[in-house]
C-alpha cells in the first residue's frame, strides 16, 4: 500500500483499504446480535445515549440532562451571582408530539398581521389603539375584535391583482365555446349534446381568439348526511329546480355578468318559448298530400318527452312504478326499471311480503261504549240493612238490566241461598224489610214509587232499578248515585227534589235511637246540622234541607252539603223495631289509616304506668307469656327431664 502511493502513478488513495481476502480461510460467520457491541479502547462498552434505542440526551451525555448538570437550576453559589429566575412555561415540558397537530399545544402556521388584511389603515390603527386605552379594559380591543370586518387573505388579494374574479376558476385560460342555452327538460335529461351541432350558429357569436377563464371548481360537500331519508336521497337539486339543468355550475347571484344569473332572473321567457315547435313536425312538405296548416303551432305538451310506451296500470306511480306494473318480467329488470336504482343494488326477485291485517272484533248489537262504574257502598256500615239488600247493592251495576240469578260462585249468592247451602234453618221473624215497616209507611212508599214513575227523565233507568231491587227506600241509594253521575244539572235538580220527597216520607215519624249510624261523625258541626235536618224531616218539614244548612258556608259548599244530606238520609235510614236490634255499633272507631300490630298483645301500658306510680307492683305490672327455649339450649342447661318431643314441637313455630 505504501509502495503504491510512492510509485509514480496517478492514483491517490484515501482511507484504509480492505484486507485482502484469503481464499483458504473459512468464511466467518456473521456476528450474532448479542455480540454486536462496541467497546472503547479500554474494553468498556461504548454508550450511545439512546441513539439506537429511541431515547434522547441532546448532548448531555451521562448527565442529568440540563446545562447545570446535577445541581438544581435555581441554586447558585450565593456570593457571586443571584440565581436566574426560571419561570417554566408549560411549553418547556412538552415534546414534539405535543406540539404536533394532535397534541395538546399544536403550533399552527397562521398568517401574521401584515399579510392578513387587505387594506390597512395606519391612522385607523392608531385611533383604535388610543381608544383602547380609554376603553373599559385598557389596552384590550375586545369589542373591535368582535366586530372586525371580513378580511380576505393575502392569497385572494394576489389573485385579484392578477386578474382573477370571484366565481372563476384558477389556472391558465382555456379556449372554449360558451355553452348553448339548454331548454328546460323534465324527466330524463338527454345528455347535453355535443357542440358540433351548434357550432355553426355559435361561430358568429364568439370571436376566435378569446380565451376564457377556466371553470371554477365546485366545492365538494363533505358534510355528512344527517337526515332521515333513505339511501341515495340527495334532496332538491337547486339547479334542476331553478334552471332546468343539474347544478353543474355554481349559481353566482352577485356577479352581474354571470350567465347563470341571467338565466335565473327574467331572461327565461324568451328562451323557453323558442322550444315550441313551429309548424308541424310531420306531414308537411311539398310532396305531401295532406296539407296541414303550416302555421299551426304545436306545443310540446302533446308529445311525450319520455321514451317508451304508455305506462301500464293506472298511471299513478309514474316512472317509479313498482314491479307488478311492468309486464316484461323476463327481461332484465334492472334495465327496465325506470326509476333510479342505487349503486350496488338490484331489484328483488320476490316481492315483499304483505302484512296480514286482522279485522277488529265484532261488537254485539246492543253494545254501547259507555262505562258505568259499579256503585260501591259500604254495606257493613249501614244499620238496618237486610242481607238481601246488601247483596243486591253489591251486585248492582246501576242500570236497568235485570240480572238473572246466575251461579257465578259463592260470592254471588244471597243470604237465603247460602243458608240453604250451609244447611241452616231460616231465621225467625220477618224476611223483608217491608214487613217491618208500618203499613202506612209501606203505602207511602208505594205511592212515591208510582209517582216518581211519571216524569220521563233520565231517571227512568233508576226507576226500573227500583223494581229490580225488592226492598223499598234503599233502592234509591244506587239510583241516587247514578243520578248524581249524570252531568245535566237540571236532571240533578229534579232528582234531588225527588230524593227529598223520598227522604221526607221515609223519615216522617221515625224514631232515631242513639245507635243510629252517624255518617258525619268526624265533623261534629256537620253532624249536628245533619241531625237537625233529620229532626225536621221527622216532623214532616218540607224545607228541612234548606233550613238545616249553615248559612255561613259558601253557596257551593251548601249545595254540596245539601246533596250529601239528602243522600245520607236516604241511605242511612234507620230501621224500626227488631232489625236494629240485630245490629250494634262497633265499639272502636276504626281508623283505617293506621293498623296497630301489637306483638305479644301486651296490655295497656298506661294502666301499668299508673300502677308503678302507685307502687302497686304485682298483678298489674306483671305479665306472663309462653316462651319456648331451643332444644339445644335446654340440653345445655341440663334440662333433660323435659319431653324433648314436646319441645321440638313447640320450637318448630
Amino acid at each position: 500500500m505504501a509502495s503504491d502511493s510512492d510509485s509514480d502513478e496517478d492514483f491517490v488513495t484515501y482511507g484504509t483499504p480492505l484486507e485482502p481476502l484469503e481464499e483458504d480461510e473459512p468464511l466467518k460467520k456473521p456476528i450474532p446480535l448479542h455480540e454486536q457491541t462496541v467497546k472503547d479502547e479500554k474494553g468498556r462498552y461504548k454508550r450511545f445515549h439512546g441513539a439506537f434505542t429511541g431515547g434522547f440526551s441532546a448532548g448531555y451525555f451521562n448527565t442529568v440532562g440540563s446545562k447545570e448538570g446535577w445541581t438544581p437550576s435555581t441554586f447558585v453559589s450565593s456570593r457571586q451571582q443571584k440565581a436566574e429566575k426560571h419561570n417554566a412555561r408549560p411549553e418547556d415540558f412538552m415534546d414534539e408530539e405535543d406540539f404536533s397537530e394532535h397534541g395538546i399545544a399544536p403550533r399552527e402556521i397562521t398568517t401574521s398581521q401584515e399579510f392578513s388584511s387587505g387594506h390597512r389603515d395606519e391612522t385607523r390603527e392608531k385611533a383604535r389603539a388610543v381608544n383602547a386605552q380609554a376603553a373599559l379594559i385598557p389596552g384590550d380591543t375586545l369589542l373591535e375584535e368582535l366586530i372586525a370586518p371580513a378580511q380576505s387573505s393575502i392569497g385572494v388579494e394576489l389573485l385579484r391583482k392578477m386578474g382573477w374574479r370571484e366565481g372563476q376558476g384558477v389556472g391558465p385560460r382555456v379556449k372554449r365555446k360558451p355553452r348553448r342555452q339548454h331548454t328546460k327538460l323534465y324527466g330524463c335529461a338527454m345528455p347535453p349534446a355535443g357542440s358540433e351541432e351548434s357550432e355553426d350558429d355559435e361561430e358568429e357569436f364568439a370571436p376566435e381568439n378569446v380565451t376564457f377563464a377556466p371553470k371554477d371548481v365546485t366545492p365538494v360537500d363533505f358534510t355528512p348526511r344527517l337526515g332521515l331519508q333513505g339511501l341515495g336521497y340527495s334532496g332538491l337539486d337547486p339547479g334542476l329546480a331553478l334552471l332546468g339543468q343539474g347544478a353543474s355550475e355554481h349559481i353566482n347571484l352577485f356577479n352581474p355578468q354571470s350567465e347563470t344569473r341571467g338565466q335565473l332572473f327574467g331572461d327565461k321567457q324568451k328562451h323557453t318559448r323558442r322550444g315550441g315547435v313551429a309548424g308541424q313536425a310531420f306531414g308537411v312538405g311539398a310532396l305531401e298530400d295532406d296539407d296541414e296548416d303550416i302555421y299551426h303551432r304545436d306545443s310540446m305538451s302533446r308529445y311525450d318527452t319520455v321514451l317508451g310506451g304508455e305506462e301500464p296500470g293506472d298511471g299513478l306511480y309514474g316512472w317509479t312504478a313498482p314491479q307488478q306494473y311492468t309486464k316484461r318480467k323476463d327481461k332484465n329488470k334492472d334495465a327496465l326499471y325506470l326509476g333510479k336504482i342505487l349503486e350496488g343494488f338490484t331489484l328483488a326477485q320476490k316481492p315483499a311480503e304483505e302484512k296480514t291485517i286482522f279485522p277488529p272484533p265484532i261488537l254485539p248489537r246492543d253494545y254501547r261504549p259507555v262505562h258505568h262504574f259499579r256503585p260501591v257502598i259500604q254495606v257493613s256500615r249501614l244499620s238496618g240493612v237486610s242481607p238481601a239488600l246488601a247483596e243486591a247493592l253489591k251486585s248492582s251495576r246501576g242500570h236497568m238490566t235485570k240480572d238473572e240469578p246466575q251461579q257465578e260462585g259463592r260470592h254471588q249468592l244471597d243470604s237465603g241461598q247460602r243458608r240453604t247451602l250451609l244447611g241452616e234453618e231460616t231465621l225467625q221473624g220477618p224476611t223483608s224489610v217491608m214487613e217491618l215497616l208500618r203499613p202506612e209507611d209501606r203505602e207511602r212508599l208505594q205511592n212515591i214509587r208510582n209517582s216518581s214513575n211519571l216524569p220521563p227523565t233520565k231517571t227512568t233507568t233508576s226507576q226500573t232499578s227500583h223494581e229490580a231491587l225488592r226492598p223499598a227506600g234503599m233502592s234509591a241509594g244506587p239510583s241516587a248515585l247514578s243520578g248524581v253521575m249524570s252531568s245535566s244539572v237540571q236532571q240533578q235538580q229534579q232528582q234531588q227534589q225527588q230524593q227529598q220527597q223520598e227522604a221526607l216520607t221515609m223519615w216522617r215519624g221515625v224514631q232515631t235511637s242513639s245507635q243510629t249510624f252517624k255518617p258525619f261523625e268526624k265533623n261534629p258541626s256537620k253532624q249536628a246540622r245533619y241531625e237537625l235536618y233529620l229532626n225536621r224531616l221527622k216532623q214532616g218539614d218540607k224545607d228541612a234541607l234548606e233550613q238545616s244548612l249553615d248559612l255561613g258556608m259558601t253557596e257551593w259548599e251548601r249545595s254540596r252539603e245539601r246533596e250529601e244530606f239528602v243522600r245520607a238520609s236516604i241511605l242511612y235510614r234507620p230501621s224500626s223495631s227488631s232489625l236494629s236490634s240485630r245490629f250494634t255499633r262497633a265499639k272502636h272507631q276504626e281508623d283505617e289509616d293506621t293498623v296497630e300490630v301489637n306483638r305479644d298483645q301486651e296490655g295497656d301500658v298506661d294502666d301499668k304506668q299508673a300502677a308503678v306510680k302507685m307502687k302497686m307492683f304485682g298483678k298489674l305490672t306483671r305479665e306472663t307469656f309462653e316462651w319456648h327455649p331451643d332444644k339445644l339450649l335446654c340440653k345445655r342447661f341440663n334440662m333433660v327431664g323435659l319431653d324433648i318431643n314436646v319441645m321440638i314441637f313447640l320450637t318448630s313455630f
Partner: protein, 317 residues
C-alpha cells in the same frame, strides 16, 4: 351426730378500703370477681381485659383482641375460660392460661352490654343494644347462636343467668325473666330504663336498678315489690347494683361517687362508701365473703370488712 352450727354472725359490711389497683386501662367499664373470688377481671376502655389477683392486686394477664371498649366479662366455673363482650359487637371466649381467643362470636347488631356464662359454661348469653339476647354454644363450633331472644323493644342493659332462668333488664323499662324449665316469660314493668338486674342468692327475689334513682326488690313469682331503695343518684349512666353474699344488703353504685348500701329488710341506708369524686361505674360482691370491688374511672378499689392487716381471716366475730 352433727356439730352445732357456728353462731350466726352479725352481717358485716365491706367498709374498709383494702387496696386500690390502678389498672392502666383507660376507664374501667366493669369489674368482676371470678367464681371463687380470688381473682378479679377488669374490663377497660382501651380494649383490653385484665386478670388480677385480689389478695395482692398483681396483674396476671392481659387479654387483647377486642376491637373496641370491653364492656363486661365473666369467668367460667373452672377458671379455665373467660368470656367478654365489647362495643365492637362481638363476644370473645378466651382461654385463660394462654390468653388466646378461642371463639369470636359475631351476630349482634350493636354493642354488647352484658355477658355471662351459664352454670356449666356451656352457653354464653349476651345482651346487646340491639335489643336481643343471644345464647351461644361454647361446645360446638357453630357461628350462629342457639337462640335469639328478641322480645325486648330496646337495648338490653343487663342480664343474669341462674340454674334454669335468665333475667334480663332492658331500657324499655321491663325486667324479663325467662324460665327455661316452665317455658314461660315473665315481664315486670318498671317504667324506667333498667340499668342492672340480679338474682338473689336464695332465688326468690330479683333486684333491679333503674334510671329513676331507685333500686327495687321484686318477688320472683308474683312480681310484687318487696322493697325500694332510694337515696343514690342514678340518672344517666348504666351503673351496677348487687346483693351482698348473704342477701342481707343491697348495694348500688351512684353517680355522686359513693356506693350505697341498704339493709335489705328495713330499707335503711347502712353504709355509704366514699369511693371518689367521679361516677362509680361498676361493682361486684364476693360470692361468699364480705368483699366488694368497685370501679371508678381508671382504678379498682377492693373493700373488705376488716382493715388490711387482718385481711386474711375475715370470719371473725
Amino acid at each position: 351426730m352433727a356439730f352445732p352450727q357456728p353462731r350466726p354472725q352479725a352481717p358485716q359490711l365491706p367498709q374498709h378500703l383494702l387496696r386500690t389497683i390502678d389498672c392502666q386501662q383507660g376507664a374501667v367499664r366493669a369489674v368482676r370477681f371470678n367464681v371463687d373470688g380470688n381473682y378479679l377481671l377488669s374490663c377497660g376502655s382501651d380494649k383490653s381485659l385484665k386478670l388480677w389477683t385480689v389478695s395482692r392486686g398483681t396483674l396476671l394477664k392481659t387479654y387483647s383482641g377486642h376491637g373496641y371498649e370491653v364492656l363486661d366479662a365473666d369467668g367460667s366455673y373452672d377458671n379455665s375460660q373467660l368470656c367478654s363482650c365489647s362495643s365492637d359487637k362481638t363476644v370473645i371466649l378466651w382461654d385463660v392460661a394462654t390468653g388466646q381467643v378461642t371463639r369470636k362470636l359475631r351476630g349482634h347488631a350493636g354493642k354488647v352490654n352484658c355477658v355471662q356464662f351459664n352454670e356449666e359454661a356451656t352457653v354464653i348469653l349476651s345482651g346487646s343494644i340491639d335489643g336481643t339476647v343471644r345464647c351461644w354454644d361454647t361446645r360446638s363450633r357453630r357461628f350462629e347462636p342457639i337462640q335469639v331472644l328478641d322480645e325486648a323493644r330496646d337495648s338490653i342493659s343487663s342480664l343474669k343467668v341462674a340454674q334454669h332462668e335468665l333475667l334480663t333488664g332492658s331500657v324499655d323499662g321491663r325486667v324479663r325473666r325467662y324460665d327455661l324449665r316452665m317455658g314461660q316469660l315473665h315481664v315486670d314493668f318498671i317504667d324506667s330504663p333498667i340499668t342492672c338486674v340480679c338474682f338473689s342468692q336464695d332465688g326468690q327475689c330479683t333486684l333491679s336498678s333503674s334510671l329513676d334513682s331507685a333500686v327495687r326488690l321484686l318477688d320472683k313469682s308474683t312480681g310484687e315489690m318487696l322493697g325500694e331503695y332510694k337515696g343514690h343518684k342514678m340518672k344517666g349512666y348504666k351503673l351496677d347494683c348487687c346483693l351482698s353474699s348473704k342477701d342481707t344488703h343491697v348495694l348500688s353504685c351512684s353517680e355522686d361517687g359513693h356506693v350505697y348500701c341498704w339493709d335489705l329488710v328495713e330499707g335503711s341506708l347502712s353504709l355509704k362508701l366514699p369511693v371518689g369524686k367521679a361516677v362509680v361505674q361498676s361493682l361486684s360482691f364476693h360470692p361468699s365473703e364480705t368483699r366488694l370491688l368497685t370501679a371508678m374511672e381508671g382504678r379498682v378499689q377492693v373493700w373488705g370488712s376488716e382493715p388490711e392487716e387482718t385481711m386474711d381471716d375475715p370470719t371473725q366475730t
